[in-house]
Amino acid sequence: MTVTTGVPTLIPGRRGAALPFVVGAALVVVMAVLPLLNISIPGILPGATYTPGTLALLSLCMVFAALALSYNLLLGTSGMLSFGHALYFGAGAYGLGLALKLVGVPLWPGVLIALVGGLAIAAFTGAISMRVSGIPFAMVTLAFAQAGSVLVRRNQDVTGGEEGLRLPVDQIPAWLVGVSNTRNLYWVTLVVLVIVYLVVLWVDRSRLGHLAQATRENELRVQVLGLRPYAAKLLVFVAAALCASLAGIAYMLLQSGTQPSAVGADLTITVLVMVVLGGVGFRWGAIVGGVLYTILDQRLTVLARAEWIRDLPDVLRIPLSEPLFLLGVLFILVVMFLPGGIAGTIDAAVRRRRGERTRSQLRQIDDADDAVAEPAAVRA
């Protein structure tokens, strides 16, 4: 069964395999240079590329792209549908804030503490959640995220409750604080995105990744072969959670604060929407999904305040002024008619031109579930 990697190999052979790296490297260079340029894309970017407003938006896009990448590692590579991934994102964000506030350490030790905390929570919740798989697994992860959300909301004095936790700026190096330093924060998030991408790439390409993919397709078979799917899935789960925590740390730095919504199921569902829109199972799809969603959300919110929308009759005005409604409908349409998402649809088109059979990642996960349900038939 063909395993989809990142960019579809448009050129077969050695040169084709190198293409994704060349393209990726070029993109990173372009992104790194953007803050120094004066490019305006009206309608999409709020200002020119050197303005703090635009840089903040692009940084947010990259944070969510990193989060989407980490989620794709779970859903795309391992076929695990988790509704609690945001827990680890929030753990990174709150972890950094609490480490700085309570323990009083400077930035870098704080980052380390936050990552270790995220790791511990991930190992614990992952081990328990993986007692079940499929839909029960999804529900358990949901419950854990809910517990985290409740924990954060209730402990006013520690976490700031509903108001959220401010980042104690005294312990942050000066070059990362303030609107004038948005450029530096932009570069930091770019570095985070690159790190997360490399980690995800490494896991995908490693034996661990291949084992997880094989497990996604046919868990029984992996077990019969004497391999241990549980251990592989747990490791991938923890790796994905660590990446999410890192993204959370970047988020905390960027926003100078975090709030309970960074922990709950709502954010995980948002990430799920990003990954499905971009294309489940494709790294570049996850990035595209994260960026597209963030920009769409911003732009649709601005659009909602436009004059001509205000003048529409209620029946049209109300749906159009709710960005999440439009995104939700878009999501439904994609799931029903384009289950491969953006990346999947493009990839399928490329493959079909080459005469290969295609099957979207989501269908593969469905099939694996069916195989679990009909073990007798599989045996025959």
Binding site: M1, D367, E374, A377, A380
Partner: protein, 236 residues
């Protein structure tokens, strides 16, 4: 010789993307019992499930002249296909009576016929099917298929895991049933095959490798050993 009741042409089937039936073609006569033979895992059950559309399949299947391979399972069954699955698959949480009632499709189901054939089930009407013995569950499963006027019965390993005495009873019931409806019977127990089957189809590697009269195949020791891996005599 009248037209075959069921014609299968180049049937292939897969489960979760895995090919389990390669290319199977055969015909089932309109009377009597046709046995499907083969070693474990060659695709006998998958062929039956493919005919019924329970697993994803390609190829042509014709029932009494009508194409049924394009129909969903419930419509195929409604056209007159009775199914007695491997492992019985009675509904454990329902009573015997409910299991039978669920299976009734015709306006006048053959309740007396079934009651005569399976008096034990009548006595156990109110018993939960999950508490029945294997043999009794098998009777429920066969009874279900006999309630309606079906054009063919697809019966999959009905004697699997049953004690010899019960095997005899099941064989008896099938023999009675065969008087009113043709049966396609997957069976590993060669004694039962010898007792019941008129014709036989042998499957290996997901394909049909031999067809003919059941007696002739079973009497040919070399053939049986080669195709089925067991000696028909040693099976006594």
């Amino acid at each position: 010789m009248s037209a075959p009741i069921l014609t299968v042409s180049h049937l292939s089937a897969s489960i979760a993307g895995q090919q389990v039936v390669e290319d199977v073609s055969f015909q089932v006569p309109a009377t009597g019992i046709t046995a499907v033979l083969g070693r474990n895992g060659v695709g006998k059950t998958s062929t039956i499930r493919g005919i019924l559309g329970l697993i994803s399949r390609r190829g042509e299947v014709t029932l009494a002249g009508e194409r049924i391979d394009t129909l969903p399972t419930y419509r195929i069954v409604q056209r007159g296909v009775g199914y007695v699955p491997e492992d019985r698959e009675v509904f454990a949480a329902l009573t015997v009576a409910e299991n039978l009632a669920l299976a009734e499709r015709d306006k006048k189901p053959r309740r007396e016929f079934v009651a005569e054939l399976f008096p034990d089930l009548v006595a156990r009407r109110a018993q939960l099917a999950g508490t029945l013995s294997g043999g009794q569950q098998q009777m429920v499963s066969v009874a279900r298929a006999l309630l309606n006027e079906n054009r063919i019965l697809l019966v999959d390993e009905p004697t699997k895991g049953l004690a010899p005495k019960i095997v005899g009873e099941v064989a008896q019931a099938l023999q009675e049933a065969a008087k009113i409806v043709p049966i396609l019977l997957v069976e590993q127990n060669l004694d039962v095959v010898r007792r019941l089957a008129d014709d036989a189809i042998v499957i290996a590697g997901g394909r049909v490798v031999h067809t003919g009269k059941a007696r002739e195949i079973l009497d040919d020791d070399a053939l049986t050993t080669r195709l089925l891996g067991v000696s028909a005599e040693a099976h006594a």
